[in-house]
């Protein structure tokens, strides 16, 4: 089985997920990395340690990612080399261009894949319902898969050869890249906090944020939140934990009414101690927490506060 892994890089750095794609590629068959950009030799060398072949696609117009040009050059390469499987990272970039590429190739696509099994046909696993349920899907090859970060961490080392694909974009991009916008900086940097009280949609209303603040204060920590809490304007954007917010590794992460969606978990899973309160015993957050409490925030937190105050 010939497998293509489309590497990703930004700000001059290779996304480590690119190597994870190659780990999977090596498991499935002949691993080919593809790296696209203006000058990608450095990345190609790095990828060659994990791939049998590395295809470079270089052009000045490819300096910054645009989905149009990525699809344009990948179509040329894929139609020529005919891989059985095309792997792309399930990132803001990967899950953007991969479906478009799949349509143009007429291939099936499955996103956010966490396992691949070839014992009985080509079967891939992914979560649905925000991590609560898993589904196995049979897909025909050739196909396109986007792969979740962290799912294929182990793999073989290789010392592959770097090839110039000799491919250029066939037309200019319809979508023009303008620039990157830096994250806003706020008063509190939650990524430096040692104790975080994080609230999710389970906090129900802006009016209940002070309860979390009081608890954070009693513990000497700060309040952070999941995305819906920030989207609703209950906490400022710089308090968001997760892939599109901040990565935190505090000594204590107290998760209140957070379900544990992957995009959130990626931002807090390396915390030293995670305690989660959730009224749903099946909440995926209990898969990453060290301690779990099945219960209502509004019962647990006031009691905890009383006891903490009584100690002082």
């Amino acid at each position: 089985m010939k497998v293509f892994a489309i590497a990703e890089h930004r700000f001059g750095e290779l996304n480590p997920l690119s190597i994870e794609l190659l780990n999977l590629a090596n498991k499935l068959g002949e691993s080919n990395a593809v790296v696209i950009g203006k000058d990608v030799s450095k990345f190609a060398e790095e990828l060659a340690k994990f791939a049998e072949k590395v295809w470079k696609i270089e052009d000045a117009s490819l300096e910054n990612y645009t989905p149009d040009l990525y699809v344009d050059v990948l179509l040329q390469l894929i139609n020529r080399e005919k891989p059985d499987v095309v792997l792309v990272g399930n990132t803001a970039q990967g899950v953007e261009f991969a479906p478009y590429l799949a349509v143009k190739l007429g291939y099936p696509i499955v996103t956010d894949v966490v396992a691949v099994n070839t014992a009985n046909g080509f079967v891939v696993s992914r979560y649905v319902m925000q991590g609560k349920i898993m589904v196995d899907l049979k897909v025909s090859t050739p196909c396109v898969l986007t792969i979740r970060q962290g799912a294929f961490k182990e793999g073989a080392q290789k010392s592959g050869k770097v090839l110039d694909a000799g491919i250029k974009p066939s037309k200019p991009s319809a979508r023009k890249f303008i620039g990157y916008v830096q994250p806003e900086v706020g008063e509190v940097d939650i990524s430096k906090a040692e104790i975080i009280v994080a609230v999710g949609r389970g906090i129900e209303d802006a009016a209940n944020i002070p309860l979390a603040e009081e608890l954070a204060q009693a513990l000497g920590g700060v309040v952070a939140g999941s995305r819906p809490v920030i989207d609703s304007g209950w906490l400022p954007k710089d308090r968001q934990v997760g892939i599109s917010g901040k990565i935190v590794k505090p000594k204590l992460y107290l998760a209140l009414g957070i379900s544990g969606a992957f995009q959130h978990v990626m931002g807090m899973k390396d915390s030293e101690l995670i305690i989660a309160v959730n009224k749903d015993p099946e909440a995926p957050i209990f898969g990453v927490a060290h301690y779990g409490i099945v219960g209502n925030i509004f019962d647990v937190v006031p009691t905890l506060l009383d006891k903490l105050k009584a100690k002082k």
């Binding site: 990132t91 956010d112 979560y127 916008v181 779990g292």
Partner: protein, 248 residues
């Protein structure tokens, strides 16, 4: 400005969801259904643009039971709706295919879709549709600024960064949550919605790209559970924190 918005009537994954007895589909008997959260932002954004510069907002829903969501969009301020009474599952190709067919005679400047659905989480229908219709596109859009026939957008990437780009129209954008603050439906809106057109277009997809082998509960549970009444729970939590020197 004419904007087509895709809106899914979807179960809330945080309500009670399970696996049906066939082991291949979801059991959603008691689940709470509403407009997919990401689509709510997409509809709001389209209506805001219309209110600012004029035009029309057309919502498209797929599913035999999507009326409530389409009515909600009309009540929010969309002008008309197309309902495609096809119950698709996890195969996003099929959904995109029927939508492409249903809107083939509509002229439009932009199509908005939610970044993903809250139930299936594919994040596919929008971009697949862009591919089928050969449209320029952008995903995870967090800001939209229209200038004549181009649209300047910001899209979310990792780590709090955003990418700024410019697209020609017509184009397709998938909308990230938080782009705006979606309005509540007013009584007035609900009344008006009753007079708005909801057209049913019966369509079946031609392709089948994926097949469900099985559904199951993921192997989780790593946490040690702290049990007891709130008082006991709080004492145990404090003991754990104390052990680690996190409280005095």
């Amino acid at each position: 400005m004419k904007i087509i918005v895709l809106a899914k009537h979807a179960p809330d994954p945080q309500s009670e969801v399970g696996i049906a007895s066939d082991g291949k589909s979801l059991s959603l008997g008691t689940a709470v259904f509403d407009i997919n959260d990401w689509d709510r932002y997409a509809v709001e954004e389209a209506i805001r643009i219309k209110e600012k510069i004029g035009g029309e907002v057309l919502v498209v829903g797929v599913g035999k039971n999507c009326d409530d969501t389409l009515r909600k969009c009309l009540a929010m301020g969309a002008d008309r709706a197309i309902k495609i009474p096809f119950d698709g599952g996890i195969d996003a190709y099929q959904i995109a295919e029927v939508i492409a067919e249903a809107i083939k005679n509509e002229k439009f400047d932009m199509i908005f879709a939610g970044l993903m659905s809250q139930d299936v989480n594919n994040a596919l229908v929008g971009v697949l549709l862009a591919g089928m219709l050969n449209l320029p596109f952008a995903t995870a859009v967090t800001a939209i600024d229209i200038k004549d026939k181009t649209v300047r957008i910001k899209r979310e990437i990792e780590g709090g960064y955003q990418e700024e780009s410019e697209l020609p129209m017509p184009c397709l954008l998938t909308i990230q949550s938080g782009i705006n603050e979606p309005r509540y439906v007013s009584v007035m809106g609900i009344k008006k919605a009753k007079t708005k057109e909801m057209k049913e277009v019966k369509l079946e997809p031609k392709s089948k790209k994926v097949e469900v082998v099985k559904m199951y509960l993921p192997p989780v549970k790593k946490a040690e559970m702290i049990t007891g009444d709130p008082d006991q729970v709080a004492s145990k939590v404090i003991a754990i924190l104390k052990e680690r020197g996190l409280v005095g």
